[in-house]
């Protein structure tokens, strides 16, 4: 179908935050996303295609919103994404055998909180209660030491120029790496001086958690709009 994982994620995000998520709206979407998980464990653009960081995040986040993560093979996914953190650079690559890129600090590292939550819901006893399953300090090092432009803004890797997209996702990845869990289980892991600490971000929507809560509360006050033309 000429309909991408990114659109599915955008649609699911918007629908869930504004309380218009109905079963019919996303009928079949979850199964279709799951079909794109391949032998590597990640998710590709279409069934059969190579696993790719961007598509994987969008697919998994959409499934989390639709409460259908169990359709995926979570162990394979975990194996794939953890293999994407580069042992020398500390940052993440988008696909096997490619170069590190600052933006994957969010697309890839952002998968670990989602996986943590999904595996926790299954009662997995081996899960840590203080850290995500990736090297949080190494990622922070990569972002802070290699991805900052002296004139401000962040970038892909040294040598590249800054842009808003990389600035956004490097910072988002940094926030993920600095904050484990929330509420009682919140554990901060900050590299360098305390001032380096960013506000936490919501791992599904990538906006501040309070904003997510406020949006949901606000729209819950209104009924789900019906599609009847009459009224």
């Amino acid at each position: 179908a000429p309909f991408s994982r990114r659109s599915a994620y955008c649609a699911a995000s918007v629908a869930s935050l504004t309380n218009i998520l109905t079963p019919t709206l996303f009928a079949g979407t979850a199964e279709w996303i799951a079909r794109c998980q391949n032998w590597e464990g990640g998710i590709g653009g279409v069934p059969g295609m190579e696993a790719h960081g961007g598509y994987t995040f969008c697919g998994v986040a959409a499934l989390v919103i639709l409460k259908q993560e169990h359709l995926l093979n979570l162990r394979n996914l975990l194996h794939w994404v953890t293999g994407r953190q580069m042992r020398f650079e500390g940052g993440f690559q988008g696909r096997c055998n490619k170069l590190v890129d600052g933006c994957y600090s969010f697309w890839q590292a952002g998968l670990l909180p989602l996986l943590h939550r999904a595996l926790h819901a299954r009662g997995d006893p081996a899960l840590s209660m203080a850290h995500w399953m990736f090297d949080q300090l190494a990622l922070q090092e990569y972002i802070l030491l290699c991805c900052q432009c002296p004139a401000g803004g962040l970038l892909d890797k040294p040598g590249k120029s800054r842009d808003f997209y990389h600035t956004c996702y490097c910072l988002s990845g940094l926030a993920i790496a600095q904050h484990f869990g929330s509420g009682d289980l919140h554990n901060e892991v900050v590299l360098g001086i305390p001032e380096n600490c960013l506000q936490a971000t919501h791992p599904v929507y990538n906006i501040a958690p309070e904003k997510v809560a406020r949006a949901v509360m606000h729209f819950l006050q209104y009924p789900v709009p019906s599609l009847d033309p009459a009224s």
Binding site: W39, G48, R95, N97
Partner: protein, 379 residues
């Protein structure tokens, strides 16, 4: 057959910036900042209905625009309209796209438009009357075959121009799925024709991933054909007096022929290719990943009847479409394959690599592979 930009910041001579040498088109860079806004503007005015352009002008303008910036969706869409109205031959767009890809091998819009054009062409093909635009003469089947071959070439070229070109390999898979219908012949042909390419691009994960796709499609194909054959046999046994007629016999023969795919042999060859490349080019993660997965497939070769039953094993949540991508437990529950030379050879290979290699990465990959072998195969 190729386009490019010639770095030339100033117009030194009073001459045309277009350079044509040995069928390759070059444009001197100084003129782009005049040309692009000019044609871009003209097209936008047309779209806003402020200035009329006739069909030929439209074709020219969009062509120029797309060779300078093929991700300009509007220009491709204007051409879609021209194709639908019958004034533009879709094959021209395939050629234009091919040219654009020589300079912009990833261009998403070019690949997307290409798929639209191909879909138009297949629809045309299925119409009873095919006498249009003088691009026919060959039978529909052959026509499709030629289209497929050409697409394989275009993808190959684009993949060579940019490492791990996701869009090119994506397109290649799409063509096999939608034009070539994943027949055994085409899958085997592709396996043999990409063998050389991947050997020359050992870090191109996308290329090896494509081979995994081919092998998995072959596996799936064999299983379905096996099932069809079994069903046909059952039908025959129940109704021996049933007249089968040409068609029936034909499909069965086709199935029988297709069934002659020697899967274990294909997978064996793949392992050999991996081993050879790992030896020749130490330290490429892609090769080890490919090896992992091929061995995995080797041990689930559906050439044995075990797998047909194993597919239903365990009431797991996984959908049956993930045949090749199973969990650890499911793997271990399956019956072992007849040819057990596989694992021993792999152990020997890994040990040999570990004792002779000097590349740090190679040693690390080999150690990880060995660990995986032990967990996965060891009992």
């Amino acid at each position: 057959d190729e386009i490019g930009l010639i770095p030339c910041p100033e117009a030194r001579y009073n001459r045309s910036p277009i350079v044509l040498v040995e069928n390759k088109l070059g444009v001197e860079s100084w003129c782009v900042k005049f040309l692009l806004p000019y044609v871009h503007n003209k097209l936008l005015l047309y779209r806003q209905r402020k200035q009329w352009l006739n069909k030929d002008e439209l074709i020219d303008i969009t062509c120029t625009l797309l060779l300078l910036n093929p991700d300009f969706t509007t220009a491709w869409n204007v051409r879609k309209e021209l194709i639908l109205s019958g004034t533009l031959n879709p094959l021209k767009d395939l050629h234009l796209g091919k040219l654009a890809l020589t300079k912009f091998p990833k261009s998403p819009e070019t690949w997307i438009h290409r798929r639209w054009v191909l879909q138009q062409l297949i629809q045309e093909n299925s119409l009873p009357s095919l006498a249009t635009k003088g691009n026919l003469g060959a039978a529909p089947v052959e026509r499709i075959h030629r289209l497929v071959q050409e697409e394989m070439n275009v993808c190959s070229e684009a993949a060579g121009r940019y490492p791990s070109n996701y869009n090119a390999w994506s397109h290649r898979i799409w063509v096999l799925q939608h034009l070539a219908k994943l027949t055994v012949k085409v899958l085997l042909d592709e396996l043999s024709s990409t063998k050389y390419w991947v050997s020359m691009h050992v870090s191109d994960h996308s290329g090896f991933h494509y081979r995994q796709f081919l092998l998995n499609s072959l596996i799936r194909r064999t299983v379905t054909d096996n099932n069809i054959l079994v069903q046909n046999q059952l039908v025959n046994e129940q109704n021996p007096s049933l007249q089968k007629g040409e068609e029936g016999a034909g499909t069965e023969a086709a199935c029988a022929e297709e069934q002659s795919v020697d899967l274990p042999h294909c997978l064996d060859e793949e392992m050999e290719l991996c081993t050879e490349l790992i030896d020749s080019y130490p330290g490429h993660e892609t090769l080890w990943c490919h090896s992992d997965e091929t061995l995995n497939n080797f041990h689930h070769s559906p050439a044995t009847s075990h797998v047909a039953q194993a597919m239903d094993v365990d009431g797991l949540n996984e959908s049956s479409s993930k045949q090749g991508y199973t969990q650890e437990t499911k793997r271990l529950k399956r019956a072992p394959v007849q040819d057990s030379l596989g694992p021993e050879m792999e152990y020997r290979f890994v040990d040999k690599v570990l004792s002779t290699c000097r590349d740090v990465d190679q040693a690390r990959f080999a150690t990880a592979y060995r660990k995986w072998l032990v967990t996965f195969l060891g009992q």
